[in-house]
Amino acid sequence: MAVSSPAPEEKVGPQSFGKASPPPGSPPSQTAVLDFFRSISPGLPNIEFCIQCGSCGGSCPAAALMDHTPRRLFALIRAGELEEVLRSNTPWYCVSCYFCMVRCPQEIHITDIMYGLKTLAVQRGYTRRNKATDLSRTFAGFIERFGRSFDLGIAANHYLRHPPSDLMGSAKMGSELLFKGRLKLTPNKIKGIPQLKKILKRAKQLEAVL
């Protein structure tokens, strides 16, 4: 076979499913997979009912850009290929349109699982600096600082790192929005910033325990 089985040392560590981790080289047990999904997604993600029908990938507007369609992603997770899953761009190209979620015959919470995989990929250090993760980081930075989003700041910050393909067009669009009063030059700041910071700090501690 062309695909050689990976060395046992590679399987442990970041790729493990937590406590119920199976012996390296074999697919994880069903319970391990279920526990994993429940830990990354709120409520009952229903993933155990996936019948690999492909409605999710077929409904996805961004499927063409993805390394793996959602269906393949779930198959990979069941097969224990968590590293491949966390390295793939699939969750990052999810536009949160929820088409897959309403069309899934088994009512799997696909979009929630995508969010969960994103956070897991970030926490385990799998994300390279790319446009999608940088956009999230920039956005999150402004929220944590001001409590509200700041469009002009986010756009400026993001486009300095990743210049748009049509620079002149974007500049023209920005100036037009600014001229029509749709962009503010200064951010709005909420009064309860200290409160918000305390809440987020505590929440981050709680997440670390997970």
Binding site: I40, P42, P61, L65, W92, Y93, V95, S96, C97, Y98, F99, V102, H109, T111, Y115, K118, T119, V122, K131, A132, L135, S136, F139, A140, I143, G147, R148, S149, D151, A155, H162, S165, D166, G169, S170, K172, M173, E176, L177, F179, K180, G181, R182, L183, N188, I190, K191, G192, Q195, L196, K198, I199, L200, K201, R202, A203, K204, L206, E207, L210
Partner: protein, 326 residues
């Protein structure tokens, strides 16, 4: 009727037209939108990509603040689709997932807040207008029927999906906006892509992919014979409106499809002036479409362009008479 109201960041500036037109409808509809004090951003789809518990805590802070303001009004209205889904999902999961509830409330208590699941009902403005105020009442309020205007209803994604509280009968085939358009006296056109994705945050991540999704939408709207689009979501409005020029350049097309918020269309039918509804702030002007039904939109004049200085070297010119002979 009193409602708690969560405007969301985009209504503050990038979609100020939505905010202003909504507030202009308040008197006509006899409703009172009470804004949650010191609300914070819901994090859109970005904060949840980095942190799980903190993102739910961030959203739940708004729910906790709304709970403090519950005074007769239990319904929390959100204007932006993403805000609505975030608030509704969190409110639902706080009730169904005990572990999440404990952790989020633990985090909230660090800021002296608490949210009891089930105290606040989250709804989108379209949902409340359609179900609680009702098409009949809206029809009675129409003073200037928009007869002859062909309007395509664009729902976008998150008002309809994932529908955590089962508010819509059929999220794949909604009729609320079409009924609203008909009530306003305009003609709803058959627009097949009305529930498709506007590409969300993709313009910042993969421009080509987002432009392709936008092209599909705009082309379908043009083919359906619509004069203009109306939408319920600030991001849909921004993407279709602001990126239309870039899309035209990319695909070599020349579409000019204006997109307004549904509240602006309702306000027009209620006899409010375009100025009071902030019509004219869109990039692709709706003036030609609205002129068809006799509504004059005062355009914000574009910045004065100086003619380019002629710095080229003087060149010999053909005598005029000779040129004409040719």
């Amino acid at each position: 009727m009193k409602y708690l109201f969560y405007p969301g960041c985009s209504l503050e500036c990038i979609s100020s037209a939505y905010y202003e037109s909504l507030l202009a409808l308040q008197n006509k509809l006899d409703v009172d939108f009470e804004e949650i004090e010191d609300w914070n951003c819901c994090g859109a789809n970005e904060y949840i990509a980095l942190h799980r518990i903190p993102s739910y805590a961030l959203i739940a802070r708004n729910l906790a603040l709304a709970e403090q303001q519950v005074d007769g009004a239990k319904t929390l209205l959100a204007a932006c689709s993403a805000c609505y889904v975030n608030l509704a999902r969190t409110a639902k999961y706080m009730g169904t997932d005990r572990e999440l509830n404990t952790k989020v409330n633990d985090a909230l208590s660090a800021g002296g807040l608490h949210y009891t699941a089930g105290t606040v009902q989250v709804r989108h403005i379209l949902d409340a207008l359609y179900k609680e105020i009702g098409i009949c009442k809206i029809k009675k309020l129409v003073e200037r029927p928009l007869t002859g205007l062909r309007v395509a209803a664009y729902y976008g994604c998150m008002v309809l999906r994932p529908d955590p509280d089962q508010r819509w009968r059929d999220p794949e085939n909604p009729t609320a906006l079409e009924e609203l358009i008909a009530a306003c006296g305009a003609e709803p056109v058959d627009f097949p892509l009305r529930t498709h994705c506007c590409s969300g945050h993709m313009p910042q991540i993969s421009t080509e992919a987002s432009l392709e999704l936008l092209r599909r939408l705009v082309e379908s709207a043009v083919k359906s014979g619509a004069d203009l689009l109306i939408t319920t979501c600030p991001l849909c409005q921004l993407n279709i409106d602001a990126y239309q020029d870039e899309m035209n350049k990319f695909f070599g097309t020349s579409y000019r499809m204006p997109i307004l918020f549904f509240t602006q269309l309702m306000g027009l039918a209620f006899g409010l002036s375009p100025d009071a509804l902030a019509i004219g702030r869109e990039v692709v002007s709706s003036a030609p479409a609205l002129a068809r039904i006799g509504v004059k939109v005062e355009q914000i004049p574009p910045p004065v362009k100086r003619p380019p200085k002629n710095t080229s070297l003087p060149m010999p010119r053909m005598p005029k008479a000779y040129g004409e002979q040719l």
